[in-house]
Symmetry: C2
Subunit: 461 residues, 2 copies
């Protein structure tokens, strides 16, 4: 019986055990953006170290960073003359709020139909466990034909602020032929997808300050610039009616789409009316000269993620608030630079903010966009593996999300990433009731097995 | 010894007892806008009923309304051939939030220098207790030369939604010559002030809805109109750069200021630089063609009282929020109509809101502005009383705040109000660390005694 058949039989026999492991992992509230969860972050990292040690990676350990630790392990001693795959993942998750919109508590994973629900089930604890179980299946029933390096970080959802330093400091232990990154999804359960371009991100908090305390709007309304109003005025100036960003210089470095790529992207099956239905919006929005697929994948955006000011309780409170706050994030495409965008936003505020209020801008960790070489052996091996499980060629697409590590690995390690994943567009990632489609997940485990077993041939060519 | 001298001696002897009573009253968190405080509202109302019964108003009672009850009492049997003064007040207070900005808990009143601190100390529990204690001083040391009707409501801070109905239903018991209303302040401790015009108010909550749930800004940024952005765009369109309101029709009914009144208002001592310092703003703001005094007193405004949308916690969360909310209130001047302004705002939203989002507008109780006849005997008696205590003529001014009951009493009872009060501009009403200047408060009690004892003469003329 071939290694592959044995490994596939192993996963058949362990479907329930795999699911139990995933539910255990999802039940750990490893929210990286909220310092109250520091303990849960460690708990999730230790859970991974145990799993890896069970698989024979006896050097599995936590590597401390100024933020949350990186889970690190590698084949030791290495198989000489065999290629090396670096498997990347993250064990942190988005905050669950708005909490009250969850059907069940976000960290008490539950099954419903063909789905597992819970924060992180799809993004990306499900993907990490898929890789672990694929390696377990091969290692338990036979032996791995290649070297594996595990790098599983705890700060992806906050922009991987400390991963770069980790990669720098451990460069000598991170020599690999390709990185397998399952943090991007597929466009439909029957259509495997490889992502070759990702947007970058730059995130900010903008505060506008008016009077030193909340004021009675009757006694002072008419002589003070209301900071909530001033904040809205600044935000309203950031887009034109078509959704084009008006921050001066924002589009200067945006790489134009050539006709060939536009034709390729146009092949992605997409129904505007479907998207309107799924999202529950009255109409779509955005730059008129670009298709929705192009706007999501190949165009930058600026989004308001949150607003807060003054009185937000029941009824009315007639005050002029002392200050107002907005969370703002931008999605970037090649060749925009997060720090340059930060400076452009600052320049916009300096030019636009009236002398009647004060403003303060905080920048969070940003990352540039990235594009992967589609002809890299790792990408070809992944395409082969997906086709062997789904019986059809994967679709190549640009994705709107951001995976900072891809760019970092290119810059710091000269390492290309093969990007896919087994999450679906309606998994509600970053939203209440996040879920994972289990039949697709089990197929994904098969695909990772196929990739790991076949990669050495592709690398050899 | 004259009634007046005896009454004044009485207050000298009872300064501490009066203060204790006020502190007891202020310690009851009678927040009317928040239904969680229903019990405290009743507690405050019952506290007043006890006080009034102690003063001999044996018919003092709570009159139920669809909202919070009205405390009601009157001289019975009435003194025939004696005039009647209706003393109006409210026992509800503004919400204390932002709670964390208070130096001590808002409902644990504390003394500091010449001030008593606590929510409601100035607006208007201090004023209500001043009236109670003035009546106590006269009644205990002699006898009241006039009939008194007490109407103390529990919904002033939410726009007196049920007071009109109370006035209608009890019209026969509310026949009076003048209403004494101490819910307006003075411009400085050494300058007694009578308010002859008040702004009205219309308050709203505006919600803008986008996608049916929060979305990942990477996966969907570029095809969905961000509702927080759309809300800001709608709000930004409500003012021009000079602070003029752009809601069509908003100024149509605004009564223009004539030159004589502008000259009078210009006599009010006012230093722009002082106001900038007190409020802690970099610069003042507002319609260039009007002085700050005119903008506060004689011009309408539209204010954003609060904003809420999406993620407001630590760090960043890259979502497109499902919805966004703004609390909006307008201050109105004669002859604007709150319901008409409501319809104007609705029409603005219908015209301006793009088809990419949905909106919903809720209107809270509103009230029109009011102007009182300065030559009414009650107003003249009040001017006399203030002069006799402060030794100088009171200043007549328009105030920016809203006291809906003044207009209601004019419309429903044909009753004019004499408006003053012993709160000061830096009492921080509706703000954290609200306070009352005690020396001014004790003078205020003397002034009310003077008013009640001298009013019969003015009424007789």
């Amino acid at each position: 019986m071939s290694d592959k058949t044995q490994a596939l039989n192993y996963i058949e026999r362990h479907r329930q055990a795999f699911l139990n492991a995933l539910m255990e992992f999802v039940s750990i509230p490893s929210v990286s953006t909220d310092s109250d969860h520091k303990g849960n972050i460690l708990q999730a990292a230790r859970w991974l170290v145990n799993e890896l040690q069970r698989l024979g990676f006896t050097n599995a350990r936590l590597v401390e960073t100024p933020g949350h630790p990186v889970v690190f392990a590698y084949t030791d001693p290495p198989l000489l003359d065999s290629p090396t795959v670096l498997i990347y993942g993250h064990y942190d998750v988005q905050p669950p709020d708005p909490y009250e919109e969850w059907k069940n508590p976000p960290f008490s994973p539950w099954l419903e139909g063909e789905h597992l629900y819970g924060r992180g089930a799809s993004d990306m604890k499900g993907q990490v466990v898929a890789a672990l179980k694929a390696v377990e299946a091969i290692a338990t029933t036979g032996s791995l034909p290649l070297n594996i390096i595990w790098v599983i970080e705890g700060e992806e959802e906050i922009g991987s602020p400390n991963l770069g330093q980790f990669l720098e400091q451990n460069r000598h232990l991170l020599r690999a032929d390709v990185a397998l990154n399952l943090d991007t999804g597929m466009i439909a359960p029957d259509q495997p997808t490889i992502t070759y371009a990702l947007r970058g991100v730059a995130a900010f908090e903008l505060r506008v300050y008016g009077p030193e305390r909340d004021l009675h709007s009757g006694l002072f309304g008419g002589v003070v610039h209301n900071p909530a109003q001033a904040l809205c005025e600044l935000i309203a100036g950031m887009h034109d009616a078509s959704g084009r960003v008006l921050i001066p210089g924002f589009y200067d470095r945006v790489r134009p789409l050539d006709e060939e790529e536009r034709r390729e992207l146009a092949r992605i099956p997409f129904k505007e009316i479907e998207l309107v239905r799924i999202l529950g919006v009255p109409h779509l929005y955005g730059e008129a000269d670009y298709t929705p697929i192009e706007r999501i994948g190949a165009r930058p955006t600026l989004e308001i993620n949150g607003l807060y000011s003054g009185y937000t309780g029941q009824g009315s409170k007639t005050i002029i608030p002392a200050w107002a706050m907005a969370k703002i994030s931008t999605r970037l495409v090649p060749d925009q630079d997060p720090e340059e965008v930060h400076q452009q936003l600052r320049a916009y505020l300096e030019a636009k903010c009236p002398p009647t209020v004060r403003w303060e801008l905080t920048a969070f960790a940003g990352s540039p966009a990235s594009i992967t070489d589609r002809h890299h052996p790792g990408v070809r091996a992944l395409a082969h593996a997906l086709k062997s499980v789904w019986g059809k060629d994967p679709l190549f697409r640009r994705e709107g999300g951001s995976v900072p590590v891809v760019g970092m690995m290119q810059r710091i390690l000269g390492l290309e990433s093969a990007l896919s994943g087994f999450g679906l567009p309606d998994d509600h990632i970053h939203s209440p009731n996040e879920r994972l489609h289990l039949p697709t997940w089990y197929r994904g485990i098969q695909a990772v097995i196929e990739f790991l077993l076949s990669y050495p041939e592709f690398a050899r060519v």
